[in-house]
Amino acid sequence: MSGQRLTTGALLRYLRGNSSEKAILQVVGIKTIDSKTDDPSVSAKRYRLMLSDGKSTFSSCMLGTQMNQLIEMNSLKENSIVRIDRVMVNAIDKQTGRVMLMLYELEVLQSDSERIGDPVALPLTDIINNGNNNTNRSETNDNNQTSTTTASSATNVIRNGSKTLPTIDDRNNTKNFNGDNNRLTAKASNTIDKERIVNIDTLNPYMNKWTIKVRVSSKSQIRNYQNARGPGKLFNCDLVDQSGEIRAAAFNTECDKFHSLLEIGKVYYIARASLKPANRQFNSLNNDYEMTFNYDTCIEQCDTDEGQSIPQIQFNFIPISEIANRPANNVCDVIGVVKSISNIDTIISKTSQKEFNKRELLLVDENASITVTLWGQQAEDFQNSSNPVVAFKGIRIGDFNGRTLSTLNSTLISQDPIETQRTIELRTWYDKEGKLMDLPDLSKGADIGNQQVPFKTLSQINTEGLGLNDKPDYINIKATTTLIKKDTAVYMMCPEERCGKKVVDENNGTFRCEKCNKTYNHFKWSYMISAEISDSTGAQWISAFRNEAETLLGISADEFGNHKLNQNENIIDDIFQKTMNRERIFKLRIKSDQYNDEQRMRLTCMRVSDIDWSSHGRRLIEEINQIESIQH
């Protein structure tokens, strides 16, 4: 029982170019396409759908990967009824007029349904499958079809502009198509079609004919390698245009062919290269794909004046404050004003006995500041004009004392970059107010309380050997307090600021502090909670002091101390009961200490907070998805 009516004729209208329509269609077939990728942790599934509008079907519909989970969660399946919210027609092959529908956004209106109507494949023999009408989608593999197998008679039909065969040509330049006919039909042509320039950010593996106009923003040296197939060589380069960036690689013959041809900073037309999902292990550029130059690839230099519109470099800045949330050893792009800079320091590496030049600067933006270390040539070359705006591309995040940034050989440093309006924004802000502000410094190790740390279970502390490294580990645990040591919950503390030592009660109204060597007639109550927390995997003892203990118990140390003095056992028991009945998030610092030849694990509570169930749920869903993708 469907109750949904399909938008008949919508498929033809989409293919004719009317992509603004939000049609209701039925999924009549789903095919999984696995992309080969070097990185096994990246699931590169792509789903191809056959859609029906009740009257006709079209089998070349690619589902945007952000919607893959609809299929994987069984919400989108055969016979599901969907509403297309955003779609684009993609020309795969201009010669034959083959097109593909890219489904960027859709909504599942009804998961389960019966087949509506008796749709037949659109009469587009040369678009779908070389004359195989009504082919069952599971029997064909369109990805292997090439344009050269198309019969020329089919091409003729399109050129005549037949109304029943929608192609990109119909909508655009029939004149262009006819005029350039000879050039286009030539296989492995050596000319680059400069009419068909596309943006880097539209490149995907399903496009056959494209040309890009890009600037080489970086190029690596040729590297030799050995693998199972024998020796080889490669180089990488990064390409940018006004829409984005992409990494390209060339191997062996192509490596030799193109390495000397491409110069950093120059603009080139590039056509016909392969695209595959980006290998995130090595490529952190902002593009889902990366390019490989192959035998057919054409590269032609562009005249200087024609290439002026292409930017020198593509930045993906994150605010300095966001660096706190990124893990160490990742790279990022960042921009800020240099508030201060040290002189060049020469240090000698302990391990290699080599001399290194380094320079540290304090980089600030509107919300935070961070220490940046420049190394070697970059330290020497840095021109220190007064508080310049500096952008870093591909700079490494370190976690010394919080967060720091450190340049790599491959890091690009650009002073007062013109490619981004952030330069002007920062300049104006700094000159007006920034130079006077005291911003939170990510490199001062402070405020572990606000930094994101991973969630673990109590048993993982043992299984992962947390706390056994040189530096303490910080984790979040969702747990319940199961025991609290009552007698030692508070102690009488020296009232002297920053002393913290326990005082001796002289029992005559005075209290002696051995550390300060003074006697006082008052003291301060201070928390020193020893509590056991438990989750479904185990239990651990933790310590909590000051603010965290106060949050945990819900009353101040002073009040608690008074209850203790007045021997209000019931009230104290009540306080403990309330504490032990609540599940909370504990941020713990874990470090093992050597104490008289014995290793002891010390778990200190840095922060206690209530559980935000929405975040927690999303975290679990994320973890489940990660487990799923590994299994695939």
Partner: protein, 113 residues
């Protein structure tokens, strides 16, 4: 407590004649008071038939326990209502993802207690 399967709007058909639990927002209460329209966690609209008049407010989030009949409606035997403070931060989208997960991994999410 009997074993109600947690589902959303798109799953109604699958659970025909089975006892289910659906959480959603009340969009319309029919004048008779015995039929309410519910927008489920996956933004579907379903019809819930009550055996007697129940006091619910339009726009409030409720949980409906009942059976799916063959008209793709819920015949409800119990309604769980919540205080506005309790549902103020309810993440309906996340609940929907959880419901889909339950279906995806039936061996891991127990229904019979």
């Amino acid at each position: 407590m009997s074993h109600h399967y947690r589902i959303n709007g798109s799953m109604l058909q699958q659970f025909n004649e089975k006892p289910v639990s659906i959480i959603g927002t009340v969009t319309k209460i029919h004048p008779s008071g015995n039929i309410i329209d519910l927008e489920t966690s996956d933004k579907q609209h379903i019809v819930v038939r009550l055996s007697e008049h129940v006091d619910v407010n339009a726009g409030s989030i409720i949980e409906v326990l009942g059976n799916v009949d063959n008209r793709n409606q819920i015949v409800c035997d119990t309604i769980v209502t919540f205080e506005p403070e309790q549902t103020a931060n309810f993440d309906m989208d996340m609940y929907n993802q959880a419901v889909m997960l339950f279906q995806h991994y039936p061996q891991d999410y127990l229904v019979n207690l």
